[in-house]
């Protein structure tokens, strides 16, 4: 082929036939002049019969023909063989056994495609539910813990500065535990983040970068306090403002975005798998059409194999639908009975902590507390609402435990106590009874006979809220787990059912084919 296109001039040259030229050129790969000087008469080869010549090169026999017929012919040549095949195939398909084979092949492809796509979609869904359960949700929980621990640490450190003397060993231990838990939670919340999620990574990095600075400032404040240097208060103010103005807002953003992730994923994973389901329905539809065609062709109404395949596909559809339904139900109930109460409980716990911080800040700064009492009332309302939400959710839940009801009662009574203590705290602050205000806001020990202090009531409330949150969380995880369990085996089952359906189709069509053999 190459010779013909490379050197068309040579073909008509004086050396003789083209074939002769080609052979000599190939044997002596030089230019024309060297070829002229070297004589190779023995090996001319032109006189040797075609079929006895050496075939170490591909034979090119139709050079001249090709040149004459041009591009159109070449296209014809290229497609001639496939065209022939196609013609043969269509000729075969036009026959009755051909039609049978064609229908069966198409059916097999359709069933396999539908089954495979459903199986893939289900296994993806299972994986995503697993990610939700093992990564996204724990991350959100870690973010919640991060916020509450940081807020708690700051409240403890700040109240240490309104009490006389050096803080007690217990206070110190609680502060240390809160900081420790905050660092653990920050690391946990970072563990599930893909490296591409720059914003979240930046948030966690900012928090983790500032916590050591915060603790450093708190320690400097403590040391100065021990030395009797009033500058300790300034260090504490610096630390506290770092926490309230930078770290806590970052932590709040992190918590909001992670819990939104949980909500979104949960919502997305409970939606029915419409697209792959429609594939399965299409497969059944084709099966029915195929049976109608078969009836038209063979005059036999029902084919056992095809019937079995239809049955198998229907089972697959039922299975997937049931799984979809129970995932959806688990998701919806999970949202109503666990996610929503969890959301409002976590939000109200954070609000309670902020109200508590305002209380202690009013002490530390000796500010008027008049403006904080309205926000305190709002916070109390929000907590009450969250508790009501949870109670209602519990009402739907047949498995609700006595312990939860006790916790709600405990939280309610603690909230009432706190409201009462806060009112007395405001009165004490406004009437200049600073010592009483300090006692109300910082003393956690209960004196028998006297009403509980704000600090003690808040601690009770926070404890009850955190236990309720833990419970709401575990039921939320249980619902996600239910959804996960519903997707179990779907992937494998659907694939297996489709393969069986394909087998059934072939087995069913075999006797019909044999009639023609």
């Amino acid at each position: 082929m190459t010779g013909a296109t490379e050197n068309p001039e040579r073909a008509t040259g004086p050396t003789g036939t083209l074939l002769h030229y080609r052979r000599t050129r190939l044997r002596t790969p030089g230019n024309g002049s060297t070829r002229a000087s070297i004589s190779v008469p023995d090996d001319d080869g032109a006189d040797v019969p075609e079929d006895t010549r050496d075939h170490w090169l591909d034979e090119v026999t139709s050079d001249e023909e090709h040149r004459r017929r041009g591009a159109m012919a070449r296209i014809m040549d290229t497609f001639a063989v496939p065209y022939l095949w196609l013609r043969r195939i269509f000729a075969f398909l036009a026959t009755t056994p051909g039609k049978l084979v064609g229908i069966t092949v198409i059916l097999s492809v359709a069933i396999f495609a539908a089954g495979w796509s459903m199986s893939q979609s289900s296994s993806d869904r299972q994986q995503e539910l697993d990610v939700l359960l093992t990564t996204t949700e724990p991350m959100s929980y870690a973010a919640h813990n991060l916020y509450t621990s940081l807020s708690l640490a700051d409240t403890i450190a700040t109240t240490g500065f309104v009490q006389a003397g050096v803080e007690s060993a217990g206070t110190r231990a609680r502060y240390n535990a809160a900081v420790d838990r905050a660092m653990m939670s920050a690391t946990e919340s970072a563990a599930g983040i893909p490296f591409s999620d720059r914003e979240t990574l930046q948030l966690i990095a900012d928090i983790e970068r500032q916590i050591p600075i915060y603790t450093g400032l708190v320690e400097t404040a403590r040391t100065n306090n021990r030395m009797g240097n009033p500058v300790g208060v300034a260090y504490m103010a610096e630390a506290s403002s770092l926490m309230r103005e930078q770290i806590l807002p970052d932590a709040a953003t992190l918590f909001a975005s992670t819990s939104a992730n949980v909500r979104d994923q949960q919502h997305q994973l409970t939606r029915p798998q419409w697209v792959p389901l429609s594939g399965l329905f299409a497969a059944v539809f084709f099966l029915l059409i195929a049976q109608w065609l078969l009836w038209r062709m063979t005059r036999r109404r029902l084919n056992r194999g095809f019937l079995a395949a239809t049955g198998l596909m229907l089972i697959a559809i039922l299975w997937v639908s049931a799984s979809n339904f129970s995932t959806w139900q688990a998701g919806t109930r999970g949202f109503e009975e666990a996610s929503m109460p969890w959301d409002s409980l976590t939000a109200s716990r954070i609000e309670a902590q902020q109200a508590r911080t305002l209380e202690t800040l009013a002490l530390v700064r000796r500010q008027s507390v008049a403006d904080t009492s309205t926000s305190f009332a709002e916070t109390a309302d929000a907590i009450d609402l969250a508790l009501t939400d949870f109670e209602q959710a519990e009402g739907h839940n047949p498995l609700s435990s006595e312990a939860n009801r006790d916790q709600i009662v405990e939280a309610r009574s603690a909230l009432d106590d706190w409201e009462g203590a806060h009112a007395r705290f405001v009165v004490a602050m406004n009437s200049g009874d600073y010592a009483e205000a300090v006692r109300l806001a910082t003393t956690t020990t209960l004196v028998p006979g006297s009403p509980p202090t704000a600090a003690a009531s808040y601690d009770r409330l926070d404890g009850a809220l955190s236990r309720l949150i833990a419970d709401a969380r575990s039921s939320m995880r249980a619902f996600i787990n239910d959804g996960l369990a519903a997707t179990q085996l779907v992937s494998t089952a659907v694939l297996l059912l489709s393969v069986l359906a394909i087998l059934a189709v072939w087995i069913g069509v075999r006797p019909r084919l044999q009639e023609y053999l």
């Binding site: 500058v231 792959p276 594939g279 500010q367």
Partner: protein, 350 residues
């Protein structure tokens, strides 16, 4: 038939979704943007809460007029009926006094007892003693340097005893008592800083509290220095210890309290200005007449100066750190000896 086959084929393809391929590494030209890192000086502790940096020459210094000051109101010549002259305070039964949160020696919290102490706190108690016969009937509120005038105007506090220098311009906003303390403005620096006066300040950072006369003095005396404006003087010590400021420009009474907390600091330089502190009260308005309060406070200051209490307080708080030329002279405006209002004027009282 063929058309049907084509239809079937198309349908079967539609039902099939290809498995998603996941590539472990996708070489792309755009590398993910690195997280924005804060500039170098943002590492480590932040500036003290609520502080701001003023670049050199950003603000023109305002004149501090401490010579053309109108004198305060004289105490009543006879014993006054306080329920008439300052009824709202007597009704409350307590005096609300704005002080500094952590100004060593002047007003600070004793970490052992948790009580507020200091020269200014003691002075507030002396005032309460004269009003209520009980030095403990004082409710202390912390006010920031910049909020002193507004706290009075909003009647959040009755008095401000918080190192407030008497100036002509401030007399437009508040009513001052006669001064209780005179001070000299100087510099506090780290011992190893080689700063000996305002001459070494160019290119460095000076710390002052916002809204103080020291801020104007810093703008005037250190025009080529950055000025760190904080909420309280203790924040300036924090900034100095965190190397965010090189010097603190303030009055020696304040500086001695700061130096007492950090043995690595020293007070340097000549006196930049002499000033005096006075108790500040709200200007009289239609709703609240503070004239009686001003006269009452002045009578206390007069008593404190005369019965030796002033020296006792000074010795207790400053003797170790500072020498003094004694208490400031009384400074009253020329007026007829005031007579307290009589019974029949009761209707006129608010």
């Amino acid at each position: 038939m063929r058309r049907l086959l084509a239809l079937l084929l198309a349908g079967s393809l539609a039902g099939c979704s290809l498995p998603t391929l996941e590539f472990q590494r996708t070489p792309t030209d755009d590398t993910p943007p690195a997280p924005q890192r804060p500039v170098a000086h943002h590492y480590g502790p932040p500036l003290p809460a609520g502080s701001a940096v003023e670049q050199p020459g950003a603000e023109e210094p305002r004149e501090i007029n401490t010579w053309d000051i109108e004198g305060s109101l004289r105490p009543w010549v006879t014993e006054a009926d306080l329920t008439q002259t300052m009824g709202h305070i007597m009704e409350r039964g307590r005096l609300i006094v704005g002080v500094d949160q952590s100004q060593n020696l002047l007003s600070f919290r004793d970490s052992v007892t948790g009580e507020l102490e200091g020269f200014e706190v003691d002075l507030a108690r002396e005032i309460a003693r004269d009003i209520f016969d009980d030095p403990e009937r004082v409710d202390f509120r912390f006010v920031e340097s910049a909020n002193r005038a507004s706290a009075l105007a909003n009647h959040e506090v009755d008095l401000i005893i918080r190192t407030m220098t008497v100036t002509r311009s401030r007399q437009q906003e508040v009513a001052f008592s006669t001064p209780y303390l005179t001070t000299d403005s100087r510099l506090l620096v780290m011992r190893n800083s080689a700063i000996t006066g305002v001459e070494q300040l160019p290119g460095r950072t000076v710390c002052v509290t916002d809204g103080s006369t020291a801020l104007e003095k810093a703008r005037l005396n250190a025009p080529q220095s950055r000025i760190l404006k904080t909420r309280s003087w203790a924040d300036c010590l924090v900034a100095l210890q965190q190397n965010q400021a090189d010097a603190i420009l303030s009055d020696d009474t304040i500086l001695s309290g700061i130096a007492a907390q950090d043995p690595y600091t020293e007070i340097v330089g000549d006196s930049l200005a002499a000033e005096s502190y006075a108790v500040a009260m709200a200007l009289p308005t239609d709703h609240v007449d503070t004239e009686g309060l001003v006269r009452q406070v002045n009578s206390t200051i007069e008593r404190v100066l005369n019965d030796g209490t002033w020296w006792r307080l000074y010795d207790r708080w400053f003797a170790v750190y500072l020498a003094t030329s004694g208490p400031p002279p009384l400074h009253y405006r020329p007026e007829e000896p005031p007579v307290p209002p009589q019974e029949e004027e009761e209707e006129e009282e608010p």
